[in-house]
Symmetry: C2
Subunit: 354 residues, 2 copies
């Protein structure tokens, strides 16, 4: 059995008894029923995933998966591919947006190289899982082989296993870096949702209207040429996906298999989560949407996954920044459930009135 098959087999329904007990405690706390809004179902989900009422998310990690994209040669990004590697160095040095927001959330950042078109010094603090130096141009053929796609997903799973075994992992956040990667991400939601590509593409790092239209044409060309099969998620990933997107899918599957809650970030991370949930629908039970990205395709991904994001701050950065901020909200949810006293515990009468 492959690592992927084995991991999918290990994904089971979270604990429904604990979920029921959590919802009961939330309803009996000394405050109006339902008054903590979306914190309440999130708190109950965390309890059911972690199998206890007093969840402690002490060990938090954001894994930022990086990869390059052959489709950049079609002119769909403002930035040249070299910036992917430059940003990886920035992550390692600790001065990038994700480092700053993860530090604030009390989370570590681990950069994973799934397919950057650059040779990194093996001594650098990077999870070296390079499958190949960037994908092929999907507007001229499949982005990668089915074997490479499977390998990228398994690399993501193995990263979760490595982190959980070596340093402990209570909460995982997913993030991405890859110049050009809004293009494959929009292609992936187009395949699964069957919605018109023009409704799913946005400016990415800052394209103008003409650039957005070019991006839509390139995606349509790639879809017509490669004909990815929506009922075969690995086919979709191979033909119009990306190496870091496969890694991001693997992170979700790996976390779900180990009963670790996982927060996805924006468009690219959620594209990975889509692949994961198509490979194994139960994985969705372990998944939280960190935020709603301003990149338009993300909203359709959230609808497709039926996930309500925790934050809506008009961000569109990637790297895992939305996941990092949302970690603070999820962490607060654990305290809400465990620490707010019930009417009975504080001896307030009239609890029946609620």
């Amino acid at each position: 059995m492959t690592l992927l098959e084995h991991s999918i087999q290990n994904i089971t329904e979270p604990d429904q008894e604990i979920k029921a007990a959590a919802l009961k405690r939330l309803a009996n706390q000394a405050r109006p029923r339902g008054s903590l809004g979306r914190l309440e179902p999130a708190a109950a989900r965390l309890a059911s995933i972690c199998g206890r009422m007093d969840v402690r998310l002490d060990k938090k990690t954001i894994v930022t998966c990086a990869g390059d994209h052959g489709v950049v040669e079609e002119g769909i990004s403002l930035f040249p591919s070299e910036v992917t590697a430059q940003m990886v160095y920035n992550f390692v040095q600790g001065g990038a947006s994700i480092n700053v927001l993860a530090r604030h959330a009390g989370a570590r950042v681990q950069v994973a190289d799934l397919g950057v078109n650059h040779d990194f010094d093996p001594a650098l603090d990077i999870l070296h899982r390079k499958i190949r130096k960037g994908t092929s141009n999907m507007a001229r053929g499949p982005a990668m082989t089915r074997e490479e796609a499977t390998e990228s997903v398994q690399a993501g799973i193995s990263i979760v296993n490595h982190l959980a075994d070596s340093q402990g992992l209570d909460l995982l956040g997913t993030g991405d870096m890859g110049i050009g990667n809004t293009t494959p991400s929009s292609a992936i939601i187009a395949v699964f949702s069957a919605l018109p590509v023009k409704d799913l593409v946005g400016p990415g790092t800052g394209l103008d209207q003409q650039g957005v239209e070019l991006k839509a044409r390139v995606i349509n060309k790639a879809l017509e040429l490669n004909r990815p099969d929506p009922s075969d998620p690995m086919d979709v990933l191979a033909k119009v996906g990306g190496l870091e997107i496969g890694g991001l899918a693997g992170l979700v599957i790996g976390a779900a298999a180990r009963k670790i809650p996982v927060i996805c970030d924006g468009l690219i991370s959620t594209a990975g989560a889509l692949i994961a949930c198509e490979l194994c629908p139960l994985a969705r039970k372990y998944l939280f949407a960190g935020h709603r990205s301003r990149e338009v395709g993300h909203e359709y991904m959230l609808r497709y996954l039926e996930l309500t994001p925790l934050l809506d701050l008009e961000m569109r950065l990637g790297e895992g920044t939305g996941a990092a901020l949302a970690m603070e909200i999820l962490d607060a949810c654990t305290r809400v459930l465990a620490d707010i006293k019930t009417f009975e515990e504080v001896g307030i009468q009239n609890a029946h009135a609620f």
Copy 2:
């Protein structure tokens, strides 16, 4: 000169030069322009308020103002007034929702008694600023005298001065406790917005449709009877407000006068902020909306104040819970501005492409 007049006189425009420098730094950071969405203007505002680029919000306090309401005798709340005092004891003991969420945000909670209908032991850790034991029933006459209203606002100002002088105060959050207080809060936004009361009332702690309609009738009766003058905010506060609402207005004015950023919570806290901003429009420059409450009148308050809330988690609890969670976001904003490196600092080329 009274404390109120003196404080209003001290409220000046935040530093526009620092704001411009902050926006420039944000635009030059190694990430797509504007990609951190609403964090960016919030970070720039914080810098302009605090007068420096590297803002440190180390000393955070939530002040939860409590008071009772004579209008409860009209049957507009599911809970009897006694619950106000019971919840104050819950706050002091540390097991209430606001204690839990403030602790998570690294903030202290200070409960202030502006007008609870109960005698508290003076030794309890409460800011004892009781003006009277609850307001009069506004459906039968003014809630309080103009002098009492002014006194409640000044009590709020004096609390800020006390906290800033005794323990330091870098960020203030406002919160409320007062059975029945969604009724005066909805009345206040009705007066200023001139919108129909029926559009501004919600279920509070859990009224059914009949209860909501009763609440609207009671507010309309109070407005017709007392005829509060929308051009005279102290008249509005006295006739259809509340003692804790006056305290909440004073917190905003007191914070603005000392150049301390202040986050308001939901319907009741924002009603206090409305009074403050009508008394001194410049106070708004120091004010952040923590979240969007599910209580319908709150949306109209936010529109009236032209504030975009940081969070939208369908909460409707009060106590300062939304302000506490939003403190974590504002704190992250300070790190975004100071700690994310610019293109120049990390030596990435192609910065012009942004």
